[in-house]
Amino acid sequence: MQFDWITFGLQIVNVLVLLAILRHFLFRPVAGIIARRQAETRAAMDAAEKAKSDALKATALAQQEAEKTAAARHDVLTRAQADAEEQRKQLLEAARKEAAAILAAARADAQKTARDAEAETLRRARDLAEAIAERALSALPVPPTVEGYAARLAETIGALPEDRRAALLGGKNLRVISPHPLSGNDRKIIDAALKPFGIAAAEVQIDPALVAGLDLSSSTGTVHNSLTHDLTRISEALKDDHETRP
């Protein structure tokens, strides 16, 4: 058996040298970089933890702000609703007052219009009455007595065409119609007026509707000669004037 002590010694030195080399160039740098990465990882973890904590705080703060905002929004909405309700009431009250004012004004206008219309109607009625009266008066016989009406009756009969007058006078139940009973003098005047037409002592019929005047009537016709007939004729004439007026 051979044991080389020189080789043995050199190998010890070699291994120790290798130990120094690997310690310096391998283990120390690699362990250092691992430690550095672990430190950086820890720092990153700490930073992440801090960021997480900050984020949680910020979230809580944001939550508080959101709650405050929600409360403020609720207050604003409540105030707005109250204001809107108040404004609605005010507007409603103003509208009610305005409507009442408009209604009062309309009523006043209507009353004024009614008064004006009434006045106009009265004025027209007065004018109409004046016109009717004027025309009626102008149509009255002169004098407006039995004598006058008897004369106008005779004049009217005389103005009739011959055939119509003969038909009238030849009809049955020939009579004089008076609004009131006739006196003896009145009968004389009437008989004298009708005598030229061959009528003597004609029967007298009382009809208050004539108001004034004398009519001669038979079964074949009637000669109107009364105030009622005059007024009716004037009214129809005025009506025709009114309808033909543009």
């Binding site: 080389d4 010694g9 070699n14 690997l22 691992i34």
Partner: protein, 229 residues
């Protein structure tokens, strides 16, 4: 492989000191590991590349193994245990290079490694427990064990040496014998097996060295009880 596993072939001499093939091979391994480490750690970054990831994996694995055996900072033992592991692994695997004999197949290298472990065990024990504390550790569990513990200190280092030497040397010899008897490709499975054996032996040597140091560093004395009031 030379005819005798104990034969030492001198390559050249420096003065009266003959430099053997084993030393030259060790120098080559030393150069490869040293230059490789220097180049690999030139551009270390917090964001590692593939090479740096492998280096960090190796260092982390060594640290984890140390922490699993010895409590405290693994940095105290990282260089020694890591150097033993990497050197023995590189030396064992150097047999893959044709005409290169692994330094660990020679008894001088294994003895040098065992002596380093022996001295380191004592040094770490003295530093951790002090002289008296370290000496007292030989009397545990009882003073009767002192001779056996003293013998154990030598024999376990001796067993480290012999185990490594026997396994590596036998592997080299087997491959050499098979290669001389069979063809060129026949020893390849044995060489693959030799790779596994080399890795396992490197691991065993480093772990046993760690266990020996741990036994010297960590006292297994029972904790002192508080005196009764």
């Amino acid at each position: 492989m030379s005819d005798s596993p104990f034969a030492v072939s001198t390559v050249f001499s420096i003065g009266s000191i003959g430099i053997s093939q084993t030393v030259v091979t060790t120098w080559a391994i030393l150069a490869v590991l040293g230059v490789g480490s220097f180049l690999a750690t030139l551009r270390l970054s917090v964001k590692p590349g593939p090479v740096q990831e492998v280096l960090e994996l190796v260092v982390t694995a060594i640290d984890d193994q140390i922490k699993a055996t010895i409590s405290g900072d693994p940095g105290r033992f990282r260089a020694l245990i890591g150097t033993l592991l990497l050197f023995i692994l590189a030396a064992n695997w150097s047999s893959l290079i044709p005409s290169v004999e692994p330094p660990t197949a020679h008894l001088e290298t294994d003895a040098a490694l065992a002596v380093i472990v022996f001295v380191a065990t004592i040094a770490y024990g003295l530093r951790a427990q002090g002289v008296w504390g370290y000496l007292k550790s030989f009397a545990r569990p009882t003073w009767v064990m002192i001779p056996l513990n003293l013998i154990e200190q030598v024999t376990r280092s001796f067993s480290l040496m012999v185990r490594l030497f026997g396994n590596v040397m036998s592997g080299v010899f087997v491959i050499g014998i098979v290669l001389s008897l069979a063809g060129l490709l026949v020893p390849i499975p044995l060489m693959a097996l030799d790779l596994l054996t080399g890795a396992v032996q490197a691991y065993i040597f480093a772990i046993l060295a760690l266990v020996f140091i741990a036994s010297a560093v960590e006292t297994d004395a029972p904790p002192k009880k508080d005196p009764p009031a």
